[in-house]
Amino acid sequence: MTNYLFILIGTVLVNNIVMVKILGLCPFMGVSKKLEAAISMGAATTFVLTLASGASYLIHQYLLGPELEYLTTLSFIVVIAGIVQFTEMVVQRTSPALYQVLGIYLPLITTNCAVLGIPLLNVQAKHNFMESLIFGFGGALGFTLVMVLFAGNRERLEGADVPGIFKGSAIAMVTGGLMSLSFMGFSGLVK
């Protein structure tokens, strides 16, 4: 049980997928202008990532096996793309407002490297099924947390007297960097 807790804390804070592993920067920069959009993006990613972690574990464990190891990345991409498509259709049907907010970013979850990265890390770390699920969920939770915090800061930064050339993405990048610096404070917390 503590093992699971450590994996969760580890993925959410210590080895945060965005702040420490520097994965998934595309939606991190793209969908963090508005708080609501960031929350929705986080929720959608959490859904996809948890599902993808579980599915990819099953595929890797039972379908591929050691002799088809070289198909790992390929098959993961296909599965993730499928799950994202599925999510998109569900969201569009069940919550048009959310669909509107997420806009073009929903399909972009497919190309979110964090979503591919986490299943691959799972394989690398030789996690079992439960561990893979929690690792995926924790990673997505960490992603959501950082997205929401970042969006809050960006909304506030809109009113700041940022020098002309740093307006927009540039200052957002700087902020992301300083946030990453802050998250380094967690290093060493979970070995």
Partner: protein
């Protein structure tokens, strides 16, 4: 002892009131010219009833209240109207507005007037009398008083009389209460009667002991349940909502009427003018104005509405380094665009300002979020957030943070260590939001009209097509049914003639000018002239049309 409540925040600026309370209220002499704006109150502008050259009597109605929220405007003295036109008025914009210029004849000849028995008259009649007497709130809001004297469906428990006068420098209500307490109490009795209120609470700040004593004496003589309540000196205790909170503990949110909570609040000077209007039939022609600041003899004057500010200030002997006049107090007042503007019903105080009296603030620095403003805000707002959104023009967020609950009291600007003109930002954001809302309403209306037009055009097209189809059908039927070609030709010719007649009739109806039955000869002449001009225009537009062809 009554329990008093507190409102959040508030500030203690130096009061500077003693300068202008040393001498009693003095009547200001008749000025050489009065400029009376037709829009002195909240709501619609009054409609002018006089023309240039008319002689008017003192108290004569010259501006008729328009529909809804509006109030009357009167000639403040007898004389001749020399002009009706645009003139710069006492407004922060410095823009001109419609005014009547009145040259006094010095006779002070009153129009016939008499009081009314308000206790026996119908409530609506009493309110109409007040509306026609131009009685508006004299505390600065200038909201027509008659509209506030309807108890409506809510039971009014407390009538609050506002004598707090918390703004620094201003003493007009203080002096009025000292000298005319009895009349104010009479006015309060009238209002209590009209609202059927249980009690009258008169709130006065504890820095006006003479006024408190006078009012207590007068209130004791009244048969109504009246209580003079001494409230601690803190700005802005004179804000209607803040005073009601202090006296009753009840807070009235923005957009909520105080009557819903069983209260109504009036300024003491308004009570006096209500009394004068109903007891003697005297409309609101003058008010008490404090003239203070950078002057040698600060004093309160009874001034006719429309008197020019420079003539008024001259009575108090302003010092030579005066470079600005402020209408109102130093916290909420507005700088006057010119010294030539006239005193209006909202003018409670004129402060002569100089750089020495009110030193220009040091440069404004960015907000450091120290939250002194939030601690001082009597409306429990977060001024630093409002400022952040207003300065970045993020109006949606500003509204989310309750921008419109701001009463613009200036307590935040007063305490700001960065010297940011905060209220200024809120006023800017508020007027922008109002304009945007107005634009949105206009866009909605335009969309509606556009869609209606589209559907009408569509319908017309369809009807035309149907008619055409029908015509063809009948024609076809006629052709088929007609035994002889002659009959058929007859038929179609008949149809054609009928259509032509109808068309002509239609055209005639369309071209005939309307409303010509009851025209005066002059109007008829005008129409003829227009027709001639039109013919000429037609000629100009089609030069070859009228010319004989060669």
């Amino acid at each position: 002892m009554r329990t008093l409540y507190q409102f959040h925040g508030g500030v203690h600026p130096p009061t500077n009131k003693t300068q202008s309370t040393r001498t009693p209220i003095a009547p200001a002499p008749l000025p050489g010219k009065l400029v009376i704006p037709f829009h002195q109150h909240v709501g619609n502008m009054a409609r002018p009833l006089v023309k240039a050259g008319n002689r008017v009597l003192k108290g004569q109605l010259i501006g008729m209240p328009e529909d809804g929220v509006s109030s009357a405007v009167h000639a403040s003295t007898s004389g001749t109207i020399s002009a009706i036109g645009m003139a710069v008025v006492a407004h922060a914009s410095g823009l001109p507005d419609l005014c009547a210029t009145l040259i006094p004849d010095g006779q002070e000849e009153w129009v016939t007037h008499e009081g009314m028995a308000y206790r026996t008259a119908a409530g609506a009649d009493v309110r109409l009398a007040l509306r026609l007497a131009g009685v508006v709130g004299l505390g600065g809001a200038v909201f027509p008083s008659d509209l506030k004297l309807r108890s409506g469906k809510h039971k009014i428990k407390s009538l609050v009389l506002n004598g707090a006068e918390c703004e620094p420098y201003i003493t007009c209500d203080d002096m009025l209460m000292r000298e005319r307490a009895a009349e104010i109490i009479r006015g309060a009795e009238i209002m209590r009667f009209m609202l059927d209120a249980e009690e009258v609470l008169i709130g006065i700040e504890d820095n006006k002991p003479e006024a408190i004593a006078a009012m207590q004496l007068a209130a004791a003589a009244s048969d109504d349940k009246m209580e003079v309540i001494v409230v601690p000196t803190i700005y802005p205790s004179g804000g209607a909502k803040q005073l009601m909170r202090i006296l009753t503990g009840i807070e009235i949110a923005a957009g909520v009427r105080s009557t819903e909570k069983g209260m109504q609040c009036f300024n003491v000077a308004t009570a006096l003018s209500i009394y004068r209007a109903l007891q003697f039939g005297e409309p609101l022609l003058s008010r008490i104005v404090t003239v203070t600041g950078n002057v040698r003899n600060a004093q309160n004057f009874e001034v006719l509405i429309g008197a020019p500010v420079n003539e008024l200030v001259a009575l108090a002997d302003p010092l030579p380094d005066t470079n600005l006049y402020i209408m109102g107090g130093p916290m909420m007042g507005v700088p006057l665009p010119s010294a030539q503007v006239s005193v209006v019903k909202a003018t409670n105080c004129i402060i002569a300002a100089s750089d020495k009296l009110f030193p220009p603030p040091p440069p404004a620095l960015p907000c450091i979020r120290c939250t002194r403003c939030a601690e001082a805000c009597p409306a429990d707002l977060q001024p630093q957030e409002l400022f952040w959104f207003a300065q970045s023009k993020n109006f949606g967020k500003a509204q989310e943070y309750s921008l419109f609950d701001c009463i613009e009291c200036g307590a935040c600007s007063y305490v700001c260590p960065s010297h940011i003109p905060l209220v200024q930002y809120y006023r800017f954001a508020k007027s922008e939001i109002r304009a945007l809302e107005h634009e949105q309403a206009a866009a909605d209306l335009a969309r509606e009209r556009y869609e209606f037009r589209q559907s009408r055009i569509e319908r017309d097209k369809q009807e035309k097509a149907e008619k055409l189809a029908q015509k063809e059908m009948t024609a076809l039927a006629a052709r088929q049914s007609a035994a002889t070609p002659e009959a058929a030709a007859d038929n179609s010719a008949q149809l054609r003639i009928q259509a032509a007649v109808e068309h002509a009739r239609e055209q005639a109806a369309a071209a005939r000018p309307k409303n010509i039955d009851t025209l005066t000869p002059r109007q008829q002449a005008e129409i003829a002239e227009i027709e001639a001009r039109r013919a000429k225009a037609r000629e100009m537009a089609h030069p070859d049309a009228g010319q004989p062809k060669e």
